[in-house]
């Protein structure tokens, strides 16, 4: 293994590379290859419910000849899966836009606050992130449900005569996602807005630009990297979200993370669950690659 670290190096140096490397090979790459393999295998009604994993190298080679695209064909033949994918992408997209609309003024206000306030506000944004995700989603159930706090408050204030049905709808899922991921939107936005040189805005206003024009022409374009970073930090985890649609949405709000969960835990169909996982990853890899390309172009340009 001496050739692994070029330029030799001590035993300690080699261990520093090898230990995390082997760990990730064993617990990240190998598991994913298994998913890939099972996604191409046929259901065998036995425990475990799929054809046996390789016993030897020959078995791997032998298996390659029996690769089956049956699971993937099935995914495309049933509307459930396609709808789940489209639904997930749509819900994640709408939530990202709402989070941006709420997060941008928040971040801008923070960036324009005094230095003492900034640290306090920044801590206030980060703090919910350290609080349990599950508990923050749970907190909304008591507020949104039909006999919940929001309806009780609105009814007693006389603003509505019938309770609003929000719990177990797509609206509740939007609220849950925006609420849970808002800090991820605000932090990169704040980072890019804070760096913004105030003298640029002064120059714009000295040259006669009204505050709104200065915002559109100076602030917004310069904060574009923050917008992109924040949006991908919300969009990517939202696509694969399971907890929020499960707790706040009804069964009709199908998102792909939930479909995978049900295939695995309820239908016990491991090959289909694996195929769903592989396709979900593909759905996510495309925006990530686009983002990286943009980031790289930004870095060199």
């Amino acid at each position: 293994m001496a050739e692994v670290v070029k330029g030799g190096g001590s035993l300690g140096r080699r261990l520093t590379v090898m230990v995390p490397y082997l760990w990730l090979l064993a617990f990240f790459l190998f598991p994913f290859l298994i998913v890939l393999k099972i996604s191409f295998s046929e259901v065998v009604v036995a425990q475990p419910p799929y054809a046996p994993v390789w016993d030897s190298f020959d078995a791997v080679i032998g298996h390659l000849s029996t690769i089956s695209f049956e699971n993937y064909a099935f995914l495309f033949s049933d509307d459930l899966y396609l709808n789940s994918y489209l639904n997930s992408v749509r819900i994640a997209f709408v939530s990202t836009v709402i989070a941006l609309l709420i997060g941008y003024p928040l971040a801008l206000g923070m960036a324009r606050s005094g230095p003492g306030w900034r640290l306090v506000l920044l801590t206030l944004v980060i703090l919910p992130f350290w609080t349990s995700f599950l508990i923050r989603v749970y907190a909304w159930i008591g507020i949104l449900k039909t006999e919940g706090l929001l309806n009780t408050a609105l009814l007693s204030a006389g603003l509505i005569s019938e309770p609003l049905i929000i719990q177990y709808t797509t609206t509740a899922v939007y609220i849950g996602i925006v609420y849970s991921y808002l800090p991820f939107m605000v932090l990169p936005l704040y980072a890019s807005l804070e760096k913004l040189d105030a003298s640029l805005l002064e120059a714009a206003s000295d040259l006669g630009a009204r505050p709104w024009v200065a915002f559109w022409r100076v602030t917004l374009p310069l904060s574009l990297p923050g917008i992109l970073a924040g949006s991908s930090l919300v969009f990517i985890p939202a696509v694969g979200e399971f907890v929020i649609p499960e707790l706040l949405g009804s069964t009709s709000v199908q998102m792909i993370g939930r479909t995978l969960w049900n295939e695995f835990f309820q239908n016990r169909d491991w090959p289909i669950a694996s195929a769903v996982a592989v396709l979900l990853l593909l759905v996510l890899v495309i925006p990530i690659m686009l983002f990286q390309r943009y980031a790289r172009a930004e870095g060199t340009g």
Binding site: V4, K6, G12, R13, T16, V17, V19, P20, Y21, L24, L25, F27, F28, L29, F30, P31, F32, P48, I102, P105, G109, M110, R112, S113, G114, L121, L124, L127, P128, W130, T131, S132, L134, I135, R136, Y138, A139, G142, K145, E147, G148, Y179, L182, V186, A198, I236, P237, V239, G240, F242, V243, E246, G257, L260, W270, S274, A277, L280, L284, I288
Partner: protein
């Protein structure tokens, strides 16, 4: 800088109310006498007392603490190694694969991580239990630690380490006496982050947990599915209190460290 205008100020207040109102409501209603979530029946701490009678919940909390402490410690050791590798070893065989494997878990949906680890554990016939949860949590947490440590090292001048080496320090000594103190804040932050992630994880643990290793989030989730209960509000409040306490402690240490540095600089 003239500060935020009235419109921005209003938007900020609305934003923070949105962020904190649900948490505040949850905490307030954990002290509600009534079992109904929407009716205020007077102040009471009976749901906290009820927690001590709920053996299942206590067991789950204990499992979660054991898993979180072990997994975050393991993740910190592995993550520091990975971070050092990424920051200090510009080329070795398979570096691209390595950095890809460090970054990928950060964007991997939890359902995929959980499913793939479970299938791998079954493939090598490793029984599901505490060990499998610890391995799973250590694996994704180490990536966060690696990124934090790498960022910390990237901002640091390498020449300090080289100077120590030139003065005859052995690599291990350089690590313990020079590099580790530099990255110490990152290591602490990484451990805390791993601890929180592990304590909070529901999805991955649900896949890899065995019958005897129910963690607190799994337990909470199964009762939340049946509806809102004041007992869950009480345990949520305890968890929120712990986080608030930790944050307070952290900001106080940060403040005193900043003050000490300011004193040092003004003294010099």
């Amino acid at each position: 800088m003239k500060g935020p205008g009235p419109a921005l100020r209003a938007a900020m207040i609305a934003g923070f109310v949105f962020l904190y109102a649900p948490i505040v409501i949850l905490v307030v209603y954990s002290f509600n006498e009534s079992r109904l979530v929407t009716v205020w029946g007077g102040f009471s701490t009976k749901w906290y007392a009820a927690l001590w009678q709920n053996q299942g919940l206590l067991d789950a909390a204990w499992v979660s603490v054991i898993v979180a402490v072990t997994a975050s410690t393991l993740a910190t050791v592995l993550g520091v190694m990975a971070g050092l590798t990424l920051a200090r070893m510009p080329r070795f065989f398979g570096r691209t694969l390595f950095s890809g494997m460090v970054l990928a878990p950060l964007v991997m949906p939890e359902v995929i991580t959980g499913l793939s680890l479970l299938l791998a554990f079954i493939a090598v016939s490793l029984d599901r239990g505490l060990l499998t949860i610890i391995i799973a949590h250590a694996t994704f947490s180490m990536c966060y630690v690696a990124v934090v440590v790498q960022a910390r090292l990237a901002g640091f001048d390498r020449s300090v380490e080289e100077a120590a080496q030139d003065l005859g320090a052995r690599p291990a000594t350089v690590f313990w006496r020079v590099t580790l103190p530099i990255i110490a804040p990152g290591v602490v932050a990484g451990w805390l982050l791993s601890f929180t992630l592990s304590l909070d994880d529901l999805v991955i643990a649900s896949f890899v947990a065995g019958p005897g290793s129910t963690t607190l989030p799994i337990r909470i989730f199964s009762s939340v599915r049946l509806g809102v209960t004041p007992e869950i509000n009480a345990i949520a409040t305890i968890l929120i209190g712990l986080v608030a306490f930790g944050a307070l402690l952290w900001s106080l240490t940060l403040k005193s460290a900043l003050a000490a540095r300011a004193r040092q600089q003004s003294g010099a």
